[in-house]
């Protein structure tokens, strides 16, 4: 299963902030069970999309050299349910960036209203743990992920490798 919970970046300020879009489609698998007749986006997946927006922002800040992983969510507040057919805007803002990791402030907006907020901490895996445990190579930002990022951010983010472009 592809674990990509954002569709497109609409704004990307390297090292500072990013905004991404997540469209909620009734065709997505989990709506079948959650819940039949009342398609509510699970809060954990909303948080994942917000974390991916923030995580890519943090990763790009170091040119994807670090393995950026979700480490802690000190605070997450959900103001209302989000339903299939709605479009979520994820806003992430870097509060603090250190060699060991970063803290990000995130918000979810639907139709201009804030529907959820969270504070998210990311760890740079090698900087906080020994390289020997996780091996060389960045498994967080894989080839396909980086290519998608290049396309998603309209070329503003540096994917860290040559990305095929259709339009040249």
């Amino acid at each position: 299963m592809r674990w990509i919970w954002i569709d497109r970046f609409v704004d990307f300020q390297s090292g500072q902030s990013a905004r991404a879009v997540k469209n909620l489609s009734l065709a997505e698998d989990y709506f079948g069970d959650h819940f039949p007749g009342y398609p509510v986006m699970p809060a954990a997946l909303i948080l994942e999309g917000l974390a991916q927006t923030g995580g890519i922002l943090v990763g790009e800040a170091n040119n994807f050299q670090e393995k950026v992983v979700l480490a802690k969510v000190p605070r997450a507040v959900f103001h209302r349910e989000m339903l299939a057919g709605e479009q979520l805007i994820y806003e992430a803002e870097i509060q603090n960036l250190r060699p060991e990791g970063a803290s990000v402030l995130g918000r979810v907006l639907v139709g201009g209203q804030v529907t959820a907020e969270a504070e998210i901490f990311f760890a740079h895996l090698d900087q906080s743990r020994s390289k020997q445990i996780f091996g060389e190579g960045n498994f967080v930002f894989s080839g396909e992920m980086k290519y998608l990022l290049g396309r998603m951010t309209g070329g503003k983010a540096r994917p860290g490798g040559p990305a095929p472009r259709a339009g040249g």
């Binding site: 480490a71 802690k72 000190p74 603090n96 250190r98 060991e100 803290s103 901490f121 760890a123 906080s128």
Partner: protein, 133 residues
């Protein structure tokens, strides 16, 4: 310059937020890991919050010296901190009281050094040095 009591209560409030503990559970001698249940990622959270709360910069490894934790063989051998390692600790953590630890320098006991009181003294030192600049 805030008093040590003022610094202590701010540090306490910071730990309540970072570690999700009650204010009553926090005493100056409370150890972060043993008594308050802190995990490695919580140390990063604590550093972020302390920086914000007190308007200071905490360079990497200044408050929580990683070189010892990562088991550098010159500093740690057979689960015990070597004399060189103790020197390193003394140099990196001038605000820490190492007398008890030196009597039994087991790596497992290292975490007992990190008390609320230690953080308070560290912050106090930072603020005093900052105001002298």
């Amino acid at each position: 310059m805030p008093t040590q009591d003022e610094i202590y209560s701010k540090v306490s409030a910071t730990l309540v937020e970072a570690l999700n503990v009650d204010e009553e559970d926090i005493k100056p001698t409370s150890t972060l890991q043993g008594d308050l249940g802190a995990e490695s990622i919580d140390f990063l959270d604590i550093v972020f919050r302390l920086e914000r709360e007190f308007g200071i910069k905490i360079p990497r490894g200044e408050l929580f010296p990683e070189s010892i934790f990562q088991g550098d063989p010159e500093l740690v051998q057979d689960g015990r901190v070597t004399p060189k390692g103790l020197e390193e600790l003394r140099a990196k953590m001038p605000f820490a009281d190492l007398t008890k630890f030196e009597q039994n320098p087991e790596v497992g006991n290292l975490s007992n050094l990190f008390t609320v009181d230690l953080i308070t003294r560290y912050i106090q030192g930072k603020l005093e040095n900052g105001s002298q600049n």
